[in-house]
Amino acid sequence: MIVYTVEDLSVRIDGKTVVENVSFTVEASQCVALVGASGSGKSQSCLAPFGLSPGIPGGSARLGDTELIGAGRAILQRQRGRDVGFVFQHPLTALTPHLTIGTQLSEAWQQAGAEAPSREAMIVALERVGLDEPESRLDQFPHRLSGGQRQRALIAMAIAHNPKLLIADEPVSALDASLRNDIMALLDALRREDGLALLLVSHDLATIDRHADQIVMLRDGRVEESGPAALHLAAPTSEYGRELVAATPRLTDPPPTLPETGAPLFVAGDIHVSFPRPGWRKGRVQAVSGASLTVHEGEALALVGGSGSGKSTLARAIARLGPVDTGVVRWRGDPLPQRKRMSPLHRRLIQPVFQDPSASLDPQWRVSDIIAEPLRHLRPDLAERGRAGLIKQVLQEVDLPAEFADRFPRELSGGQAQRVAIARALVSEPEMLLLDEATSALDVLVAGRVLDLLEKLQHERDLALLFITHDLAVARRLCHRIAVMEAGEIIEEGPAQQVIAAPTHPVTQKLVVASRA
């Protein structure tokens, strides 16, 4: 039974056409996935027909027998409350902060005109989406819940009025790998049990491969290819499809060839980091307890774990960018000084690249000044001309044209900005890069190209990498070894292939299952 039909849909924003000629149908129990790079119009195609985006839709979109395009505000509003539910990308901001979970669930329950639900009924609804302690959650405000818990609550609200269609706009991309898997399994169960039709927007091909029946690949607002998901992901028919598939690392890819490794570069022993509890409460939160790591010359080590597992805190403690309570870090045998005693020459050794490139570049500075800043302390001998030469050289190394030196960060795309951040790290001639989720905020294709760049640097520069990620497939592509963190401790460590093929710790096993496409 067809629930939702889209024919020849177009969307215009400010007179510009961002979606054109898009057609697909969603049947009951089916999952249809809209895929594409960012800006390909996938969210617009989903939200504009329902009046939930500033875009103006054209063509046809029918929910059951009701035509949405051209319908008045009142009709759209009624339709939104009746046969369709929505789940959005950012669980942290998608709930109203000043209303309790119970109040919002009750509101969602009544959207199609139902009676106010009893407490018991709401508890059952929250239990169904796998939210723990549902009774006490009803009286809690959203900020008391973690990201995964909030996404479950949002799903409970989205299906509270028994809609026929659920539209999920990147429902799991803000969550870590094992949570992703849990939430997608929940959506699968709803399809099976309630016959719910699912329209899924995602850029994560691994997720789609496992869960979607049909796939629609969008590029610049047009359908590049569409059809059965398994078929099109195994053998894409378009150049764009092949590019998308190739940019997504998977655990089933052939093992990568990695550079040779040398003598130990640094040895970190028994690192402890704690933070004071927020507010006036006594005591400290132990973020890292007794972690030890070794990285060799030219070696890439992945630090993998869920959000809050302490991986960034540990890496920053090692690089002396964050606090550390106890523990020694030896660099080629010599102890690394404490954070405030680090000289520029020490700082040179480990250069960081962070997750959000737009936040780690000063918007007031030109690219050339951003890249040149480390040179002021490290190479005071260099004159203006020498600096310019070095800047040109590193820009070339990160595959950016020399004229980018005069640009400001706002004139760069996400991928270009991350390349500038990498260039700034490289200009100091580091021995190791600290990459903190350096590709996870980027779009698939862009992230794929940044990974290619890192691979090239690894081979050409003999760089060691400390690669923080929640994505095992990405870790496997670049890294010799994987260390898995959970609750501040390293619970498993070993050669990448071995950890993925035969994980010993249950948390690692769950991570591997979640990442296996």
């Binding site: 329902f50 009046g51 939930l52 509003q77 009624r78 339709q79 939104r80 409350g81 009746r82 539910g85 929505f86 959005f88 950012h90 901001t93 998608a94 709930l95 109203t96 902060p97 000043h98 209303l99 509101e107 969602a108 959207q111 199609a112 405000f141 900020h143 949002l154 609200m157 989205a158 927020p278 507010g279 006036w280 409460r281």
Partner: protein, 307 residues
């Protein structure tokens, strides 16, 4: 919640002490004294007066004595209004100032939030432009302009309302001073509300509410209004203080026997206990208003509630 109240009360004590000591010293740095009149007193009388009021003691000792007395609730005698204590003068003037200021605050909130909401819903249309233009004009007009202007138009011209006076707080005497005092604050609140709501309406959780099929009116009332009012709440603390001090001008324009009059005259006459009493009272009220603003914050956004 109770912890927050307790903590604020404890931190209020050093703040108040600081205010008392600072104003005590500043007052004494100003030239002149309470007994300097047209005709200079002879040395002997003057010394006797100073001794009678303890003004001959070292400054540090005077401050300690004063603090000791206000802890017991005694603000001392007025040096100029000879038959009254400072407490009696405050008891006379404070209710009047609080009535005018409180009513003006309520009126400013009602006009400001209402107008801001109305404009935000019509964002970009002429009604929005008109309201925001009026709001800018109102914030720019000081009460010493609007006050006499209102008197000219509504009292002398049209004869609808009395020109000035208190008359035991009769409503007709309240209208002009309250409106004149409220308007600049109403303008500022309208702008804050308008900007806050425009931002709140673009937030993710409002989209979630819209996706739920709620009517736009419900979306605003239940999901967008409270986050939109956070900037208004942070403005209310200083605004309430501004209404109190602004009342000084209003009370002069409309000849109201409020606290402001004593404050100004006390400062001009070097009536040390009177000025100190009023300053301490104002400081206490301002601390109180800021505490109330913090409580409102917690209601608007539970994330800001103290742990």
């Amino acid at each position: 919640m109770r912890a927050l109240l307790l903590r604020r009360l404890i931190t209020a004590i050093p703040t108040l002490l600081g205010v008392v000591i600072l104003s005590f010293v500043l007052m004494r740095l100003a030239p002149g004294g309470p007994f300097d009149g047209e005709r200079a007193l002879d040395e002997e009388t003057r010394a006797a007066m100073d001794a009678a009021y303890g003004l001959d003691l070292p400054l540090g000792e005077q401050i300690l004595l004063y603090i000791g007395r206000i802890v017991r609730g005694d603000f001392g005698p007025s040096l100029v209004y000879r038959d009254f204590t400072v407490s009696e003068l405050i008891a006379q003037g404070l209710p009047i100032s609080l009535t005018i200021g409180g009513l003006a605050l309520l009126l400013a909130c009602a006009l400001g939030i209402g107008g801001g909401l109305w404009a935000a819903v019509r964002a970009g249309r002429w009604q929005d432009e008109a309201i925001m233009g009026a709001a800018t004009l109102l914030t720019a007009l000081p009460v010493f302009v609007t006050g006499p202007l209102f008197v000219l138009i509504f009292a002398l011209g049209l004869g609808w309302l009395p020109v000035s006076g208190w008359e035991a707080g009769s409503p007709s005497h309240l209208v002009l001073p309250v409106v004149a005092l409220a308007l600049p604050f109403a303008g500022a609140i309208a702008k804050l509300t308008r900007a806050g709501l425009a931002r709140a309406l673009n937030e993710d959780h409002v989209r979630t509410a819209r996706a739920r099929g709620l009517a736009e009116r419900q979306v605003i009332a239940r999901h967008a209004l409270r986050p939109a009012l956070v900037p208004v709440a942070s403005y209310l603390g200083p605004a309430a203080a501004g209404l109190l001090t602004g009342a000084v001008i209003i009370e002069t324009v409309f000849a109201l026997p409020g606290l402001g009059r004593y404050f100004v005259q006390g400062a001009l006459n070097r009536d040390y206990p009177l000025v100190l009493g009023v300053v301490t009272l104002y400081a206490g009220l301002i601390i109180l208003f800021n505490l109330v603003a913090d409580l409102i914050y917690g209601w608007l956004d539970p994330r800001m509630r103290a742990e």
